[in-house]
């Protein structure tokens, strides 16, 4: 057998066995019933064997005893007859003598043939030694028995198979004893007692024991099944209830019946469910309160801010009419209000994520369009910094199911960051799609990131260089929000960077929100990265699925 056919054969065996095996592993009642059957077969078998042995020996012992008594009596009678017939010269011919003895003994057997007789002459061979049998053939007497009788010269017995003249056979008992026939010498007289009756009784008993045993095993299996069902059904019910509960049906409970262990299980289960429900409800309540609070704070802060904003705008518009100090104040007020506003907006956005209140509003969008839009929006900044932004997109549609507002925000953030940290060197924005995922890489060639910094960039209020903090804009929350936005899609946002070799930020989104995604269509470490620079990358992160994803 070649390896291939062997493995194919094993495959077939495995599939054939697979289903019952699985059933075996998964069903407690099957295992209990099977175990019960195995053990009850063993026990019933053992009992049956013992029982049969007892009955067998009992039956045979009785028969043997009565047979030996009969044979002894018969032999004594025969010897007596023979001795009486020994009248010297008037002794009848051996043949006649033997016939008469057999006849007398046979009469004792009665008509149904309680036994048969075999009269054999003992060796050595002599002249006139007539031998007689009644109905059985002389081959019914086993040679060992004859040897024993001849050797010991006393009564001996053994089991044998009686062969009748008509060719039938029957199990039987052979009892032999030496007798002396006057005029010729030693003979052996064998009694053959058929055991047909006993055999029939034994057969019946055997059949009965087998039948009863089988019945017993089946009934035990049935009982085991019923008993396990009593235990397993509530357990299965508990499993089903737990499944429903974990699927969100928090009001699901088990029915408590009686006061037994299973009722205790149901009671404990229900207690656990109630506790969980209370906890979950409390947490939900807490989350709602938090959301509510954020929403209220938002409103309460925004209304006065709007008034301030409008007033500041009005002052800013007419700053030329003011003296220089007041005019500059109006400018500062305006600028810092912008900063304050974006900070407030970012804080509210972050707290919305923290409260789990962020909802994905996903629609199919072409990522290329969003990239173009983000680059376009950053064009004034790029111009100011003298940065060339190169966009490399494929000709094919890069459709993803995404929340355009959020992805747009992420892309703008990445592009603006790249321009701000790119030190005037070109920024490359690459889009690619493959295998259920679409990726955008934003690569700058600025100062880059130090080892270990690529995971820090997503931290709230983290800045690469504290000294630069005040010169560059931004709230310090942009990348944190971007990461949360991407997580909400079930996507990845990763950073790569090397000192002096710039940084690369890669956004990977699954085609379908929360769709499977094994790897990104673009490498995180750019191909133009220096060969010996130490690079730092972050591990891909898959957010646990959140509820409340709306399509």
């Amino acid at each position: 057998m070649t390896a291939a056919t062997l493995s194919a054969w094993w495959q077939r065996v495995a599939t054939t066995l697979g289903r019952p095996l699985r059933w075996w592993r998964r069903s407690v009642s099957l295992r209990v019933v099977a175990t019960t059957m195995v053990f009850s077969v063993l026990v019933v078998g053992l009992i049956g064997v013992l029982l049969l042995q007892r009955i067998n020996s009992g039956l045979l012992d009785a028969k043997t005893r009565s047979s030996i008594v009969e044979a002894t009596a018969g032999v004594t009678e025969a010897q007596r007859l023979l001795d009486a017939a020994d009248t010297g010269p008037n002794t009848p011919a051996v043949g006649t003598l033997v016939d008469s003895v057999i006849g007398v003994l046979a009469q004792r057997a009665g008509s149904p043939g309680l036994f048969d007789l075999v009269l054999l002459a003992s060796p050595p061979k002599r002249g006139d030694t007539p031998e007689r049998t009644t109905n059985a053939s002389e081959s019914s007497v086993p040679a060992e028995l004859r040897a024993a009788v001849q050797k010991d010269q006393r009564q001996s017995w053994t089991y044998t198979e009686i062969r009748y003249a008509d060719g039938t056979t029957a199990p039987g008992l052979a009892v032999g004893a030496p007798i002396t026939v006057p005029g010729t010498g030693p003979y052996e007289l064998y009694y053959l007692f058929p055991l047909t009756q006993e055999q029939a009784t034994l057969d019946l008993v055997q059949r009965t024991v087998l039948f009863v045993g089988l019945l017993l095993v089946l009934m035990l299996a049935g009982i085991a099944y019923v008993v396990t069902r009593q235990v397993v059904s509530p357990v299965r019910l508990a499993a089903r209830t737990a499944e429903k509960f974990s699927a969100g049906q928090l009001t699901e409970r088990m029915r408590v019946r009686g006061e037994d262990d299973l009722a205790k299980l149901a009671t404990s289960f229900n207690g656990m469910a109630s506790n969980l429900q209370t906890q979950i409800t409390r947490l939900e309540q807490l989350s709602r309160v938090q959301q509510r609070f954020v929403s209220d704070v938002s409103h309460e802060l925004r209304t006065p801010l709007t008034t301030v904003r409008m007033a500041a705008d009005l002052l800013y518009e007419s700053r030329e009419e003011f003296d220089p100090a007041t005019a500059r104040s109006a400018e500062l007020l305006q600028n810092q209000l912008d900063r304050f506003e974006s900070l407030l907006a970012d804080l509210l956005e972050i707290s919305r994520f923290d409260a789990g209140a962020a909802v994905l509003d996903a629609d199919p969008v072409d990522l290329r369009v969003l990239v173009e839009r983000a680059v376009e929006a950053a064009a004034p900044l790029a111009e100011r910094k003298g940065t060339l932004v190169r966009v490399i997109t494929p000709d094919t549609l890069c459709l993803v199911e995404a929340d355009a507002r959020r992805v747009d925000r992420v892309l703008r953030n990445l592009v603006v960051n790249a321009i701000e940290h790119g030190e005037g060197r070109p920024v490359d924005v690459t889009v690619a799609a493959a295998e259920g995922a679409v990726a955008v890489c934003v690569r700058d060639h600025g100062v880059g990131l130090k080892p270990g910094e690529s995971s820090l960039v997503f931290n709230r209020f983290w800045r690469a260089d504290p000294a630069r903090a005040r010169t560059t804009g931004g709230t310090g929350l942009g990348l944190s929000i971007a990461l949360e936005d991407v997580r909400l899609h079930g996507g990845w946002l990763q950073a790569w960077g090397a000192p002096g070799d710039g940084a690369n930020f890669r956004l990977t989104l699954p085609e379908k929100a929360y769709g499977p995604m094994t790897h990104s269509p673009l490498p995180l470490e750019p191909e133009d990265a220096g060969p010996r620079v130490q690079s730092t990358t972050t591990q891909p992160y898959r957010a646990p699925r959140r509820d409340g994803v709306s399509r």
């Binding site: 929403s295 938002s298 409103h299 925004r302 209304t303 006065p304 801010l305 709007t306 008034t307 301030v308 904003r309 409008m310 007033a311 705008d313 009005l314 506003e341 509210l348 919305r352 209140a357 909802v359 509003d361 199919p364 839009r373 929006a377 459709l399 355009a404 507002r405 747009d408």
Partner: protein
């Protein structure tokens, strides 16, 4: 700028903001009217008959959404809502209750004025123009839509939206283009505006809003006029 550009009813409980809005609106040539209580907003609206309503969504007395609904029930006057909430549900709820557009606090005066202007501009007639879309006849100058001679009442915004689609029945309008043409946004804005108003429009003009025949969705792109 010509004078008497329009009367704007400002419904806001925050007096400072209302006053500031008044200053800005007056500077732009509008005539501001004020109401600080949601419960009195409808009465104020009936008495003053403004050309546009600036409505704060969070009001004491009566919820802004509620006020919006009542005004919309009796008039097609443009409503621009002021909201501090940026959650989708809140904004969509506001739009569904009848607001034509919204401004999120904090906003810049220019932003607000631009929104107000666009909503007041749309009524300018451009001479006789008759369009058909589906089994509807549109008289642009007369600002009326009729099916088999029976007039269908649309708000000015819904009318503009329908007219925009009817003018170029061969073109598929992306939500961005509609935002530009109907709402006057020059930069990409919130496409939910389009979605909600298309729904509202459909509920008025379609035989079966579930299976629209007149304003047809082009999946992944936008909307277009259905075949006549």
């Amino acid at each position: 700028m010509s004078d008497a550009k329009g009367r704007v009813l400002v419904v806001d409980d925050d007096l400072a903001l209302a006053e500031m809005l008044g200053i800005v609106l007056r500077a732009e040539g509008f005539e501001p009217l004020f109401c600080s209580d949601g419960a009195k907003a409808l009465t104020a609206f009936r008495e003053s008959k403004p050309d546009l309503v600036l409505l704060d969504l969070m009001l004491p007395g009566r919820d802004g959404i509620d006020v919006c609904r009542s005004i919309r029930a009796e008039s097609g006057v443009p409503i621009v809502m002021l909201t501090a909430k940026t959650d989708t549900v809140d904004i969509v709820l506001g739009l569904e209750s009848g607001a034509d557009d919204y401004v999120v606090k904090p906003f810049k005066p220019k932003e607000l004025v631009a929104r107000v202007r666009t909503r007041l501009r749309s009524t300018a007639p451009v001479g006789q123009e008759n369009l058909t879309i589906g089994d509807l006849a549109i008289d642009v100058a007369g600002h009326s839509v009729k099916r088999d001679g029976v007039a269908i009442s649309l708000t000015p915004l819904e009318f503009d939206l329908l007219a925009a689609l009817a003018r170029k029945p061969w073109q598929v309008f992306t939500r961005e283009i509609l935002l530009q043409e109907v709402w006057g946004y020059r930069h990409a804005a919130d496409t939910r505006l389009v979605n909600v108003h298309v729904q509202r429009l459909r509920s008025k003009i379609e035989h079966d809003p579930e299976l629209p025949q007149i304003v047809v969705t082009v999946r992944g792109v936008g909307y277009k006029a259905g075949p006549s």
